[in-house]
């Protein structure tokens, strides 16, 4: 399964799990994560589910703290890490 489509699927799951709704038309690369409708706890659920599915957490592996601001940046972090497997 493509990383991007997995993220999209789990994003919806995390929205539901945190009783939130998507607050934009649809998720695009330019979408600012803070405006997506998913709160910080929802993001924690998303990262946790992605780790369950993919077996890694790219943020833990980074030497420096990185906090992506857009959905595109978030996806790129996972795609880059995934390509190393």
């Amino acid at each position: 399964m493509q990383v991007r489509s997995l993220i999209l699927e789990l994003f919806d799951e995390a929205l539901e799990a945190s009783d939130s709704k998507l607050e934009c038309e649809k998720l695009e690369d330019e979408t600012v994560l803070l405006n997506s409708g998913l709160d910080s706890l929802g993001f924690a659920i998303l990262v946790a589910r992605l780790e369950e599915e993919l077996g890694f957490d790219p943020f833990v592996e980074m030497e420096e703290a990185v906090y992506p601001t857009t959905f595109g940046e978030f996806v790129a972090i996972y795609e880059n890490r995934s390509s190393k497997d």
Partner: protein
Amino acid sequence: MSSVLVTGGTRGLGLAISKRLAASGYNVIVVGRKCSPDCEKWLAETENASFEAFDLADTKSIHEFSQRITRKYGRLYGLVNNAALGLDGVLATMHETDISKVLRVNVEAPILLTKYLLRPMLINRKGRVINISSIIGSTGFKGLAVYGATKAAMNGFTKSLSREVGKAGITVNSVAPGYMATDMTEGLEGEKLQSIKRRSPLGQLAHVDDVAGMVNYLMSDEAKMITGTVMTVDAGSTA
């Protein structure tokens, strides 16, 4: 069967907690540097408990250890942060490496372990985090400045984290035991211990089983409306 993990579960209070939780039907994962003879004997006769070797001072490996636990046992329901170093000594002469080690094992390690083992609880939208603190965290005790600082830290951690994850159906509480007769308090001189006993309203020391009972209660469904608090079990010493 819900899985719960108890750090420092091979002896003293941790072993009493592990036994109590297993008796309640939880699948107990006992974590420690090495298994004690007492713990081995108990594990041999207990189906729903197992041992996992890990040294919490190795904070760099906590993420990997947490992943291994989740893969092997599934999503965890409860975590008991019980492992701690009870190093005592006058602050002015305590070596910096010892100060660092106490801070690392008593504060940084449980925070990191909670960070990672909280994730399965967030996904499940239910869970329990129980931090073993100490009355020393609020009363203080000569020779235990660093230890006391770490226990106060755990209480602060409990309060903020409870606010963070309450919405996800996870409770976070501290249990603060008073003086108990365990390996950790062995260094307390006889007279000191006698005076603690004399001064407590109940005229004795709390036993590890009394504290284990409180942990078992907080782990249960009955305690679902209790979060962000410090439960003191000290035979009334701090009354």
